[in-house]
C-alpha cells in the first residue's frame, strides 16, 4: 500500500513541473537568505570574540553558511531538472540523476533543521565561554603593555559602555582583581604598600571600578572609588547607589544579545525548513515517481501515479533493513543452485575411476 498515492494526468504533471520550477527558484533565494544569516551571525560573534574563551560556537554560522550555499546549488540544479520534467523525452536525460538529487535534497533539508536546532541549543556553551572569556579579559585589563593583550582594556571598556553593563556577574567582580597596572602605582607610597601587603597574592585590590562602568542615567557625577563605603560620599543614598553604575553583568548582557539574535535566526531557518520539506521535497518526490511510472507504462499521454513511498512505511523500513542486514553477506554461501555445496553424502564419495572415452577417429 503506497504512502500518499495521487494520480496525475499529463497536464497535471506539466503543471506540477512548472510549479516546482518556480518553487526551486524561490528555494535558491531562501538558500541565499540562509547564507546571509550565517554571515551576519559570524560577523556578530567575531565582533566580540576577544571576550569569548573559545570560538566553538562558530560552528553554528559555519553550518548555516555551508547549508545556504548547498541549498543554492542543489535548488538551481533542481529548477533545471523540473523544467525538463514537463516533457517526457527530456526527462529521460535526468532519469539517473533524479534519485541522487532527491537524496541530496533530503540531506540538506536535514542539515537546515540541524542548523535551526543548533541555534537554540548553543546557549549553555555560549554562557560558559562568555564567563571564562570575561574573567580572563578582566584579569588582563591592566596588561596594556603585553603584546597580545594590549587591546583588551579598550575592548572591555567599549563593551561596558555599549552594552551598559559592568563586570562579569556584577560590578563587585572588579573588587577581586587588580585592574590598575603596577606601572602606575607608586610603590614608595605607604598606602599602596599596605594594600599590596594585605593581600595574599600581593595584588593591589580596591573597591573601585573603571570609568566605563559609570551610568549615564545617574543624576550625580559618577562615583567610582570607595564603593563599599557609602558614607564616604556626600548624600550617597540608596537611590543614588542604584543609578550610579550599570547594574547588569556583561555576561548576562552579551548572552541576552546573542540569544536574541540566534532565536530570530533559528525561527527564520525553521520556517525555511518547513517550506523546503512540505513543498519542495514532497513535490519533487511526486514528480519523480509520476515520471518514472509514465516511462514504465510506456505511454507519455497516459495517467500515472505518484507517491511518497511505494509501500507502506513499515514495509519500506523492513526492506531497507534487510538490505543493510544482507550487505555483508554477498560473499557468503547462499541458496544459489549453481554453487556446489558439499552435502553429507559427499563424505562417502566414491573415488572416481578413469572413464575411458573412445575418441572416434
Amino acid at each position: 500500500m503506497a504512502v500518499g498515492k495521487i494520480t496525475f494526468t499529463k497536464t497535471e504533471r506539466e503543471k506540477l513541473a512548472e510549479v516546482l520550477w518556480l518553487l526551486n527558484w524561490i528555494s535558491v533565494v531562501t538558500g541565499a537568505i540562509l547564507f546571509g544569516l550565517g554571515l551576519f551571525l559570524k560577523i556578530e560573534i567575531q565582533k566580540w570574540q576577544e571576550v569569548m574563551s573559545e570560538q566553538g560556537i562558530l560552528y553554528v554560522p559555519h553550518m548555516l553558511i555551508t547549508t545556504g550555499l548547498a541549498a543554492c546549488g542543489i535548488n538551481y540544479l533542481g529548477s533545471k531538472i523540473c523544467l525538463d520534467c514537463a516533457d517526457t523525452n527530456k526527462f529521460l536525460r535526468w532519469k539517473l540523476v533524479m534519485m541522487p538529487y532527491i537524496v541530496c535534497t533530503f540531506f540538506f533539508t536535514a542539515c537546515v533543521l540541524a542548523g535551526a536546532l543548533m541555534c537554540y541549543s548553543v546557549r549553555s556553551q555560549l554562557e560558559e565561554s562568555l564567563y571564562l572569556g570575561l574573567r580572563n579579559t578582566m584579569r588582563f585589563y591592566k596588561d596594556t603593555d603585553t603584546p597580545g593583550r594590549c587591546y583588551l582594556k579598550k575592548t572591555l571598556d567599549l563593551l561596558q559602555i555599549q552594552f551598559q553593563c559592568c563586570g562579569n556577574a556584577d560590578y563587585r567582580d572588579w573588587f577581586q582583581i587588580q585592574w590598575v597596572s603596577n606601572r602606575y602605582l607608586d610603590m614608595t607610597d605607604s598606602a599602596v604598600v599596605d594594600r599590596v601587603r594585605s593581600n595574599v597574592d600581593g595584588k593591589y585590590l580596591m573597591d573601585s571600578v573603571p570609568f566605563s562602568c559609570c551610568s549615564t542615567l545617574s543624576s550625580r557625577p559618577c562615583i567610582q572609588h570607595n564603593l563599599s563605603n557609602p558614607a564616604a560620599h556626600a548624600h550617597y543614598d540608596e537611590q543614588s547607589q542604584q543609578l550610579n553604575l550599570w547594574r547588569r553583568g556583561c555576561q548576562q548582557a552579551l548572552l541576552d544579545h546573542y540569544t536574541g539574535i540566534m532565536q530570530s535566526i533559528g525561527l527564520t531557518v525553521l520556517l525555511i525548513w518547513l517550506f523546503e520539506v512540505l513543498l519542495v521535497l514532497t513535490g519533487v518526490r511526486y514528480l519523480q515517481t509520476a515520471m518514472e511510472n509514465v516511462i514504465r507504462l510506456g505511454d507519455p499521454e497516459s495517467e500515472s501515479e505518484g507517491w511518497i513511498l511505494e509501500n507502506s512505511l513499515a514495509e519500506t523500513a523492513c526492506y531497507n533493513f534487510n538490505i543493510i542486514k544482507n550487505l555483508g553477506k554477498c560473499y557468503q554461501v547462499d541458496d544459489d543452485p549453481n554453487i556446489n555445496v558439499p552435502t553429507a553424502a559427499a563424505d562417502r564419495e566414491v573415488p572416481s575411476h578413469q572413464v575411458r572415452v573412445n575418441v572416434a577417429s
Binding site: 582594556k153 602606575y184 573603571p210 559609570c214 549615564t216 543624576s219 550625580r220 557625577p221 556626600a234 548624600h235
Partner: protein
C-alpha cells in the same frame, strides 16, 4: 538664427518622446531620492537638537524635501506630456502648462544649486549655534533637578562618548564651569570650603572632567581629577599626556560630522541637477519639434527642433522690448500718440490690403 537647431524625422521624434518618458521617470526617482535625503539630514539634525541653539541650518534639509516633492510632481507631468506629444489632437492643450513647467523646472534646478552652495556657506552659522548650545549644555550639566534642564547631563555624557570629544573647544572648558551640583558637595569638608572661597562667584571649580571624557584607548585607568597637577598621580605628566582624555572638542566633532554628511550628498545632488537639466532641454526639443511637425502640411515629415527660436541676443532683445511695452502700457506719451496715429493708419491700410487679396484668389 535658431539656437542649437536639430532636424527631427518622424522616427526621431518618436524616439525622443520615448527617451524623454524614460528620463522623466528616472527624474521622478531622483526626486524621491532627494526627498529621502532631506528627511535623513533633518532627522540627524533633530537628534542633536538639544546642543544647537538655533535652527538656521535646517533650511538645507527643508529645501531638499520641498524640491524633492516638487520635482516628483513636475517630472510626472513631463511624462504625461510625452505620452500625449505625438498625438496632434491632444498635444496643443499642454502649451500653456508647458510654459509654467519650464519655469518651475528651471526654478527647481536653481534651488538645488542653492542647496549645494548653502550647505557650504552655513558652516559658520552651524559652528556658532553649536558653540552656544554646548556652552549652555556644559553650564547646566549639574542641574539634574531643574525641570527643563534635567536631561542636559545625560545628553552631554552620551554626546561626548558617541562622538569621542570633550568639552566645547577642549577638555579645559570643564575647568571653568561648576559641573558638580551643590547637592553632592560636603560643605563641612575643608577642601570644599577652600575651593569655594578661592572663587569670586563662590563656585566649586576643579581641574577635573566628567567620566564621559575618558578615552578607552588610554593604556592607564582614566584620570579624571587633579589633571593639572603632575605630582598628584604617579608617572603622570600633564603637558605630555595625550591619550587619557578625548583631545577633540565637541563643537569640532559635531561640525565635522554634519559637514561630512552634507558634503557626501553633494555629488548626488549635482547629478540630479544634471538629469533635471537634460529633461528640460529634451522637453524643449520635443515641444518645438512636435509644434513644427503640426505646422507642416505633411505631419509625418521632417521638422526642426531648437532651444530658442532666435539667437540668444535676439531673444533677449525681444524679451526686453516686450517688457518695455508692458511697462509703457499705462503711460500717455505725446510722441507715441502721433506715432500711434501713424501706426493706426498703417494698420488700417494693411487690413484693407489683407481684405482685398482673398476675393481675388
Amino acid at each position: 538664427m535658431a539656437l542649437l537647431k536639430m532636424k527631427f524625422s518622424q522616427q526621431r521624434r518618436v524616439r525622443l518622446a520615448q527617451g524623454l518618458w524614460l528620463l522623466s521617470w528616472l527624474a521622478v526617482t531622483c526626486g524621491a531620492f532627494i526627498f529621502c535625503l532631506g528627511v535623513y539630514i533633518k532627522i540627524e539634525l533633530l537628534r542633536r537638537d538639544e546642543v544647537m541653539e538655533n535652527t538656521e541650518i535646517h533650511v538645507v534639509p527643508n529645501l531638499l524635501m520641498m524640491v524633492g516633492l516638487a520635482s516628483i510632481g513636475a517630472n510626472w507631468v513631463a511624462s504625461r506630456v510625452c505620452q500625449d506629444s505625438l498625438d496632434p489632437s491632444r498635444f496643443p492643450r499642454w502649451n500653456v502648462i508647458l510654459l509654467v513647467w519650464f519655469a518651475v523646472a528651471t526654478l527647481l534646478c536653481c534651488l538645488l544649486l542653492a542647496v549645494v552652495v548653502l550647505s557650504y556657506a552655513l558652516q559658520g552659522r552651524l559652528e556658532e549655534s553649536l558653540k552656544v548650545g554646548l556652552r549652555n549644555g556644559i553650564r547646566f550639566y549639574k542641574d539634574t533637578d531643574v525641570p527643563g534642564r534635567c536631561f542636559q547631563k545625560e545628553t552631554i555624557d552620551r554626546l561626548q562618548m558617541e562622538f569621542r570629544c570633550c568639552g566645547n573647544n577642549n577638555f579645559k572648558d570643564w575647568f571653568e564651569v561648576q559641573w558638580v551640583s551643590n547637592r553632592y558637595l560636603d560643605f563641612t569638608s575643608q577642601e570644599v570650603k577652600d575651593r569655594i572661597r578661592s572663587n569670586v562667584d563662590g563656585r566649586y571649580l576643579l581641574d577635573g572632567v566628567p567620566f564621559s571624557c575618558c578615552n578607552p584607548v588610554s593604556p592607564r585607568p582614566c584620570l579624571q581629577y587633579q589633571l593639572t597637577d603632575s605630582r598628584a598621580h604617579y608617572n603622570y605628566e600633564y603637558q605630555s599626556e595625550e591619550l587619557n582624555l578625548y583631545s577633540r572638542g565637541c563643537r569640532q566633532a559635531l561640525t565635522d560630522y554634519y559637514m561630512g554628511l552634507m558634503n557626501s550628498t553633494g555629488p548626488g545632488v549635482l547629478s540630479v541637477i544634471l538629469i533635471q537639466v537634460s529633461v528640460i532641454l529634451s522637453m524643449r526639443y520635443l515641444q518645438t519639434a512636435v509644434e513644427g511637425a503640426m505646422a507642416l502640411e505633411a505631419p509625418e515629415g521632417e521638422s526642426e527642433g531648437y532651444i530658442l527660436e532666435k539667437g540668444v541676443k535676439e531673444t533677449y532683445a525681444d524679451i526686453r522690448e516686450k517688457v518695455n511695452n508692458l511697462l509703457k502700457f499705462g503711460q500717455v506719451d505725446p510722441a507715441s500718440e502721433d506715432a500711434g496715429a501713424e501706426e493706426g493708419e498703417k494698420a488700417a491700410e494693411a487690413m484693407e490690403k489683407a481684405a482685398t487679396p482673398p476675393p481675388a484668389s
